[in-house]
Amino acid sequence: MRASLSQAIASKHSSGGWPWKTLSYLVAAVVLLPILVIFTQWATVGNGEQEIWQHLFNTKLDRLLGNTLVLLLGVGFGVTLLGVSLAWLCSVCEFPGRRFFEWGLMLPLAIPGYVMAFVFLGLLNYAGPVQSTLRSWFGNQVYFPDVQGAGAVIIVLTLVLYPYVYMLARSAFVAQGRQLMDAGRILGQSYWKAFFLLAIPVARPAIVAGLALALMETLADFGTVSVFNFDTFTTAIYDAWYGLFNLAVAAQLASLLLLFVAIVLLVEHKSRAQARYSQKNSQPMQAYHLKGGRAMLASGLCLLIFLLAFILPLMQLLLWCLEVVAEEYDQRYWGFLFNTLGLGFIAALATTAFALILAYVKRLPARIVETRWQSMIIRVSTLGYALPGSVLAVGIILSFTYLDQLMLETTESLLNWNIRPFLVGSLFALVLAYCTRFMAVAFEPLEAGFERINLSIVEAAKSLGGSPGRLLRQVYLPMLRPGLFTALIIVFVDVMKEMPATLIMRPFGWDTLAVRIYQMTAEGQWERASLPSVTLILLGLIPVFMLIRSARLTRLSV
C-alpha cells in the first residue's frame, strides 16, 4: 500500500518534470553551439596547420605550458589562501573593523584584471615612481624583483580573483555557522584541527566553485598577461591567429584548453560525488571574539588586502584621471555608462535564469543514465568561461552567421524577400554571447546553493505533491536566495568588465566603458584609460553594494 503510494508520487514528478528537461536541453544547446563550433575547427588540418603545430612543438610550447602551470598553481594557491582565510575571519569571527571588511573585501571584484595590471606595472616598473624613488635614495644598483615575471602576474591575478573564493566561501561559512566547530571542539579537537577537518570540508563545494571560477578566468585571460608580456598557452592561441593568420590552429589550441578544464572539473566532481553536504540552516549564534594580538592581526590582514587590491589601484587611477579628465570627458560618457549598466543588467538576468534552469533540472528525479547525460551536458555548457573572449566571440559569430544564413535562405525561398542578417550584430546575439561566456559564473553559486539545501525539506515538499514549478518557487528559491543574488551580481560585474566579445559583437553605437578602455590601452594610452576605468570601477560598486545589502539580511547575528 505504502509502496504503491510513493510510486504514484514518483511517477507524478517525473511526468511533471519533462518541460523543465526540454527547456534545459534548449538552454544547453544555445550555450553549447559556439563552444562546439570551436571543436569543429579540427576538420581543417592542412599543410599550413601541420607546419604551425610542428613549429610550436619545436620552439615554445614547453615554455608556454610551464608558464601556464606555474600561473595556475600560483593563482590557485593565492586565491584559496586569501579567499578562505578572509572569508572565515569575516563570517565567524569578531574583530575591530569586521563589519566594514566583510563587504569591503568584495570591492576588488569591480576592478578588471587588465586595469590592475597596467596600474601595477605603471607604479612598479623601472621608470615608475617606486623604483625611481628607490634609485634616488640608494643609487642605481638597488635590487628590485622582476616586475614582468611570473610572481608579478600571480600577485595581480590573485588580487583581482580572490573575491570569487571569498564570496562563495563566505556564504558557505555563514550557512554552516559555528555548531560544527563547536561539536569538533567538544569532541576534543584543537581549533585548527576542527577548522581543517570539519569547517573546510563542509564548505568544500563552495570553495572549489570559487577556485574553479578563478582558475578558468586565469586560463582564459589574455588582457592581464599581455600587459606583462608573460606568455601562456592562451598567448599561443593569439599568436597563431593574429601573427600567423591561422584561425583554425587558434581554435584547435583553444579546444585543448577546454578539454583540459573539462577533465579537471569532472575529476573534481567525481571525487566528491558520494558526499552530501546538506545541513540545517544555522540559528543565530555566537561569533568568536578575537582579542588583543589576534584581533590586531585579523584587522591588519584585512586592511592590507583591502589597500593593495582596492584603494591603491583606485588612488593611482584617480590621480591619472585628474590629469586627463578635462580633455577626455565628453557627453558620450553618459552613453557608455548607460550601455554598460544596461548590458550588465540584461545579461545578468538572462544568464542567471538559464543557469537556474540547468542547476534545477539536476535536482529533478530521473533515471540514472539520463542524469549522467544531463550532468555532462550541463558541465560542458559552463566551459565558455575558460575560453579566451575573442575565440568565443568567433565561435559565436560563426554559429550565428550560420543560423542567420538558414533563416534568411528560408525566408527568401518562401517569401522571396531579400533581407539583411539580423542575428549577428544584434543586442540579442550579444546577450547570448554573455550567457555562453558567463554561464559558469552563474551556475557555480547556484549549484553550491542547491547542494547546501537539506534534502529532507525537499522530500517533505515532494511528498505533499508539489509540482516541479511550485517546488522551485516555494521551496528552493527562498532557500537559494543568497546563491541567486551572488550569481546575478557576479555576472553583472563580469559583463561590465568584459571586453573582447563586446568589442566584436556589440551593435552599432553600443560602446561600453570596457570598449573605451580598450581603445585607449590599445594605443598604449594608459593615463587616458583611467577615466573609463574609474567610472567602470565605481559603477561596479553598485551591484557589489546590492549584494552586500542582501548578504546583510542573511547574516548571522553577532
Binding site: 613549429h55 620552439t59 615554445k60 606595472l121 616598473n125 623601472y126 621608470a127 625611481s132 642605481n140 622582476d146 614582468q148 615575471g149 599581455s226 600587459v227 606583462f228 608580456n229 606568455d231 598567448t235 593569439y238 599568436d239 591567429w241 593574429y242 601573427g243 600567423l244 593568420f245 591561422n246 584561425l247 578635462a326 580633455e327 575573442s390 566571440a393 568567433v394 559569430i397 560563426l398 552567421t401 542567420d404 544564413q405 534568411l408 539583411r420 542578417p421 549577428v424 550584430g425 573582447p500 568589442l503 566584436i504 556589440r506 552599432f508 560602446d511 570598449v515 581603445q519 585607449m520 590599445a522 594605443e523 598604449g524 594610452q525 594608459w526
Partner: protein, 357 residues
C-alpha cells in the same frame, strides 16, 4: 607647451571654420590632391550610409568621419575592434556583410583580407595620384592613408647619434645590454622583420634578430610607451618605436630626454607601415565606400591624420604638423608594404626561433 588637447582644439577650430564656409562649395581642389567628382558623390549618397569595420581606434577616425558627413551629407556607421575578429566576422558574413569599407592599422591585415578574397579592387585615378605606389596594393584592393614610421630612438645624454646607423647595426656588440624592444607579438615588429626578410633573406635576418635579443637591457615590453619611458629613465639607451609615440611624449613634455634617429638612411630607407582601407568585396554601397577612401586621401583629412595622431600623411603633397616636421625629411623604405603581410607568418616563426618574445 604643445599638448594633445591643443591639437584637439585646433581640429575643433578647423571644423568650425569649415562649417561656416559650408554655403560655398567646400570642395577646394589643389592640383596635387584631386578630389572625386560631385557625380560620384551623388551616386554614393543615394546608396545610404557607408559602413566601416575599423581597427583604427574611434577617437582617431571619428573626427574625420564627422567631417566627411558634414561635407558630403553621407552618413557613416562604424564598428571598431581588433583586426583578427573583424576579419573573421567579415569572412563569416560573406555576401551578407554589413561592411562597405575595411580600415586596418597595418598592411599585414589588409593583405590577409585581400588574400582571402574579402576585398574588391577599385580603379581610382585620384588614389593613384594621391598615394605613392609602395603604400598601396598593386591590385588596388587597399590603399595606405597614413604612414607610420618605425625607427630608432635614443637617450640624448648617453648616445651620440653618430654611433647610430641602421636596424641591422643594433645587433652589434656596441649595444650589448643597452637595447629596449617591444614584444614581437606587436604587428609593427612583425612588419619590420617581414620586410627585412624580403630584403636580406631569412638567414641574415635571423642573425640580426638574435643579436637584438642578446643586446636587450630588459625583458621586452608590451608597449612602445614603456620602451620610451625605459630609455628616459636610464634602463636602456636605444630602442625601436613608431615615431608618433615619441611625438605624443614630446607634445606632453618638450623636455622629454629621448630623440629620434632615422634608421637606414644610407641604405634601404626607414621602415614604414600604413594605416589604410579598402572596399569590401560584398559592399552594399561600393560607390560610397570608394568615395570615402578617395576623400580620405585628400588635403584636409590627410592633415587631420597628422594632427590627431602625429602620423605622416600618406599623400606626399600634404605636410605633417610642425612637431613632426621638426624631425626632418627622411627616406622611406620603398619596398611595397604588401610584403609585410606576405612575409608576416615567416617573420613570426623566425622571431620565435630567435627567442624574441
Amino acid at each position: 607647451m604643445f599638448r594633445i588637447t591643443q591639437l584637439f582644439a585646433l581640429t575643433g577650430c578647423l571644423l568650425a571654420a569649415c562649417s561656416q564656409d559650408a554655403a560655398t562649395p567646400a570642395l577646394q581642389t589643389t592640383d596635387s590632391t584631386p578630389l572625386p567628382t560631385s557625380e560620384a558623390m551623388l551616386d554614393a549618397a543615394l546608396m545610404g550610409p557607408v559602413v566601416v569595420y575599423s581597427s583604427r581606434q574611434e577617437y582617431l577616425i571619428k573626427p574625420m568621419f564627422d567631417r566627411f558627413t558634414e561635407e558630403t551629407g553621407i552618413e557613416i556607421q562604424y564598428q571598431t575592434g581588433e583586426e583578427g575578429p573583424l576579419i573573421a566576422r567579415l569572412q563569416a558574413e560573406g555576401e551578407r556583410t554589413f561592411a562597405d569599407v575595411l580600415y586596418a592599422v597595418d598592411a599585414g591585415f589588409l593583405w590577409t583580407a585581400a588574400d582571402r578574397g574579402l576585398m574588391a579592387a577599385i580603379d581610382s585615378e585620384n588614389l593613384a595620384a594621391n598615394i605613392p605606389s609602395h603604400l598601396r596594393d598593386p591590385q588596388g584592393q587597399w590603399f595606405g592613408l597614413s604612414v607610420r614610421a618605425r625607427t630608432i630612438v635614443y637617450a640624448k645624454d648617453r648616445v651620440d647619434p653618430a654611433e647610430l646607423s641602421s636596424y641591422e647595426e643594433l645587433a652589434s656588440e656596441r649595444w650589448r645590454g643597452r637595447l629596449c624592444l617591444r614584444t614581437s607579438k606587436e604587428v609593427y615588429n612583425m612588419s619590420l622583420v617581414a620586410t627585412m626578410i624580403e630584403r636580406l633573406g631569412e638567414e641574415r635576418t635571423q642573425a640580426i634578430v638574435e643579436g637584438w635579443v642578446v643586446n636587450l637591457a630588459a625583458p621586452v615590453f608590451s608597449s612602445d610607451n614603456l620602451v620610451l619611458e625605459a630609455i628616459a629613465a636610464g634602463q636602456c639607451d636605444v630602442g625601436l618605436v613608431n615615431s608618433y609615440y615619441l611625438g605624443r611624449m614630446l607634445a606632453d613634455d618638450p623636455e622629454f630626454p629621448v630623440a629620434l634617429f632615422w634608421a637606414n638612411q644610407q641604405s634601404s630607407g626607414t621602415h614604414v607601415n600604413i594605416s589604410g582601407a579598402g572596399v569590401t568585396r560584398y559592399a552594399h554601397n561600393p560607390a560610397g565606400a570608394k568615395y570615402l577612401i578617395e576623400w580620405l586621401s585628400t588635403q584636409e583629412p590627410q592633415q587631420m591624420f597628422s594632427e590627431l595622431n602625429l602620423e605622416y600623411p600618406a599623400n606626399p603633397a600634404v605636410a605633417p604638423v610642425p612637431l613632426v616636421a621638426a624631425w626632418g625629411d627622411f627616406q622611406q623604405d620603398q619596398i611595397n608594404v604588401e610584403a609585410a603581410g606576405r612575409m608576416q607568418a615567416t617573420a613570426v616563426m623566425l622571431m620565435d626561433r630567435a627567442d624574441y618574445r
